[in-house]
């Protein structure tokens, strides 16, 4: 698996917020993808959109609840179409399947279209180790492959790179003169990769959906590299998570309406390719072999937990990233693993373990924007809370996000709030301190109007006020107002 850096979440996100180049890149996500998404929804009307979302969700929920049944049906139909379906429990097993196919078929060059699952499995180094040349062909993926980086967005992997970054990279890696014209750079990639497509023995793709009814793999792309990867080489291997299966080909109608609009605001992408088995004997072209590799790699843990199962409904559109106030400020890399943003904060702890990713569920203000934009209505905030709960209550200390001090504060707070007498006492102490501060010269912790505590002098409050203000205690608490005035009506 790719290097897991989820434990450095706080440091990485603090650094990201200070990076002006990244801020400019992230601004484009909101103004580009999200604005386009909203106008695409307005065009079909929010009412119709809501119906589609519900249909999409219902299909996903039904399929996941009967996943074993649909995987079996898929197996039957992939096989009937002359393809082969392989199951893998984990990353190393999945990589070994692909490596085995590459070895036994004497594969020298492989081209890949975009696949987040192959990023998750870290397939490329495994193939390179057995002497296969691997070429990422999605422009964004190609850029980050050259830069030896990881994707920072589900849909736009090289979002964090400026055109100057890419121009420098091309100069360094391809030995061409510096040229920051975006059109010229895209043309360069076309030329370099065109030769590779024609040379490749193996094409590797991901899958947006796989259809159980017919054994069909569906990929949704804009560049055309997905079409080339599944048409030009003599072998095609599709790799994806086991949750991508849907029952009927008819179900695609709603997903093809939901996914492009949510991802990029397009009514439909330039290409949708549906592959059913290898080329037939009289076809003009196409691969001689078709393999589909379905991976578990931690997904059955999500399946086994009813509170988190719905994370498997995700169609990886990226809409929740584009709208998220946290993602918009820190970008994808700070999340420390393949899947960023709100959905990543749910999926990563489940796939790599809560111990390593325990900070991610904290990275949310629980504003609920992700839930509102999700095309399959996944309740991400609920799952983030569930994961926070699991982390806080874990008997295993290493899974807990909160330090001992924070836990003590939380416990004291709980004590205070459950005892009216203690609370009254505490309020009185607080008021006393608030009055007393006036006599401290120079360093008043309060704002001028006395309504906010700006720099509390002592921990743990001082930690809180480092990045936020805390309201001061009012002259009268609600409780006191109630006692004195409002409750009179009752008597």
């Amino acid at each position: 698996m790719p290097e897991i850096k989820t434990e450095q979440f706080f440091a990485a996100s603090a650094a990201a917020m200070k990076n002006p180049k990244l801020r400019r890149a992230l601004d484009r996500v909101g103004s580009g993808f999200d604005v386009a998404r909203i106008s695409a929804i307005d065009e079909v009307t929010p009412e119709v959109w809501e119906q589609w979302r519900q249909q999409g969700r219902d299909i996903k929920v039904h399929t996941i609840e009967h996943l074993d049944y649909y995987l079996d049906l898929l197996y039957t139909n992939v096989t009937a179409a002359g393809g082969q379906l392989h199951f893998a429990n984990d990353a190393s097993q999945a990589n070994e399947i692909v490596a085995h196919i590459a070895r036994t078929r004497n594969v020298k060059v492989a081209t890949k279209s975009k696949s987040m699952v192959s990023e998750e499995l870290e397939l490329n180094p495994v193939l390179e180790a057995i002497g296969v040349e691997v070429w990422e062909t999605d422009l964004g993926e190609y850029i980050i492959q050259l830069a030896k980086e990881t994707p920072s967005h589900l849909v736009a992997p090289a979002l964090h790179k400026s055109k100057e970054d890419v121009a420098e990279l091309f100069t360094e890696k391809l030995g061409i003169p510096y040229d920051e014209d975006i059109f010229h750079m895209a043309a360069t990639a076309r030329t370099v990769l065109r030769d590779k497509f024609m040379e490749a023995d193996l094409g590797i793709s991901g899958a947006n959906f796989v259809v159980a009814e017919t054994g069909t793999l569906v990929i949704i792309t804009n560049e055309g590299n997905g079409r080339l990867c599944t048409s030009a080489p003599r072998i095609h291997i599709g790799i994806t998570g086991m949750e991508k299966v849907i029952p009927s080909m008819q179900d695609l109608a709603v997903f093809l309406r939901l996914l492009p609009r949510s991802a990029t605001g397009q009514r439909i992408t330039s290409y949708v390719s549906m592959i059913t088995g290898p080329r037939r004997s009289d076809d003009e072209d196409g691969p001689e072999e078709f393999h589909l590799v379905l991976v578990d790699n931690g997904r059955s843990r999500m399946l086994a937990d009813p509170a988190l199962r719905e994370a498997l409904n995700c169609i990886r559109c990226g809409a929740c990233l584009n709208i998220c106030p946290v993602y918009q400020r820190i970008g994808g890399h700070a999340y420390g693993w393949v899947y960023p943003g709100p959905i990543g904060a749910v999926v990563s702890p489940m796939l790599i373990g809560l111990k390593q990713a325990k900070e991610l569920p904290q990275a949310s203000s629980l504003c609920g924007a992700c839930r509102e934009v999700c095309p399959v209505k996944i309740d991400i905030p609920r799952m983030l809370l569930d994961l926070r709960h699991k982390s806080a209550e874990s008997p295993d200390k290493s899974q807990r996000s909160a330090k001992a001090a924070e836990r003590t504060v939380a416990r004291l707070y709980a004590m205070l709030m459950s005892s009216p007498r203690l609370l009254r006492l505490a309020v009185r102490c607080g008021r006393f301190l608030q009055k007393a501060e006036r006599f401290i010269p120079f360093f008043s912790p309060l704002s001028k109007d006395g309504k906010w505590i700006k720099n509390a002098p002592l921990p743990p409050l001082s930690k809180w006020t480092r990045s936020r203000d805390l309201p001061t205690l009012p002259k009268q608490t609600f409780h006191e107002v109630w006692q004195k005035e409002l409750s009179r009506d009752d008597s």
């Binding site: 096989t79 055309g224 079409r227 599944t230 048409s231 029952p247 080329r279």
Partner: protein, 252 residues
């Protein structure tokens, strides 16, 4: 060429994998209590629905052609509605001239019997190759022709008014690469190929699958406008791996 062993078991055996999924779900090995409606449809029911679709399409054809033209243009196609064969050929000639192409490849579909483009293009001094395998034309030779071509011309299997998409089903006579590798693609669409919605398309595909005893061909492609990317600074660039310029000629 190595002959692959067929049906080798790689990874986890199916039974074992499915058992672990079942265990995670806490389920027995049983089908869904409520069968999935779409999967229980019989061929007769699908035929019935297909007949309804056909009737609806016939009744609304003029409006559907307008809608197709509108949506295709929004999707990035250069749309040309030709009132007759002459006009269609004239348009293709003008695209060929403007593109500066010297080589053209085309599929072997029956629309070319109706719209004989070869003679007109050859008269312009262009080399036209029909991509259809035979003794002389091997897969490799044809692939090279496609690589050299400046324009690829195909017909349509369907055209979708809802999305402005061309739908092709690559097979004998219809290479996957003719509409993909050359920088310009011209697609000829006949009125009888127009469908209204995604639902129509998938229903017809499923019907064919049933009728042919569980066979639907190896490939289906939606094409909607030119190849695009926005991977550098979210600036849209057309023609990154596929065609930069796509023309839809609607015959009617």
């Amino acid at each position: 060429m190595t002959t692959p062993e067929t049906n080798e078991t790689l990874g986890v055996p199916k039974a074992e994998f499915l058992q672990s999924v079942r265990q995670a779900l806490g389920r027995e090995d049983v089908p869904p209590a409520e069968p999935y409606p779409r999967l229980t449809e019989t061929q007769a029911e699908l035929e019935d629905q297909a007949a309804q679709i056909r009737r609806r399409l016939e009744e609304n054809l003029p409006a559907l052609l307008d809608k197709l033209a509108e949506m295709a243009a929004l999707g990035g196609w250069k749309v040309h509605r030709a009132s007759g064969v002459e006009e269609a050929i004239g348009y293709i000639e003008s695209v060929a001239r403007e593109s500066g192409a010297t080589n053209i490849v085309r599929s072997a579909q029956d629309v070319f019997d109706q719209v004989p483009v070869d003679a007109a293009l050859t008269n312009l001094g262009l080399k036209v190759t029909t991509v259809l395998r035979d003794e002389a034309n091997t897969r490799e030779a044809l692939r090279e022709e496609i690589r050299q071509a400046g324009i690829g011309i195909t017909g349509a299997d369907y055209a979708l008014a809802e999305t402005g998409s061309l739908i092709i089903l690559p097979r004998r006579g219809l290479s996957r690469l003719v509409s993909l590798v050359p920088p310009v693609h011209i697609a000829l669409v006949r009125p009888e190929e127009v469908l209204e919605s995604l639902d129509d398309l998938f229903l017809l595909r499923r019907l064919e699958y049933h009728q042919r005893g569980g066979e639907m061909g190896s490939y289906l492609n939606f094409i909607t406008g030119p190849s695009r990317t926005a991977d550098i600074e979210m600036t849209i660039v057309e023609g990154v791996h596929g065609p930069k310029e796509v023309h839809m000629v609607i015959l009617g």
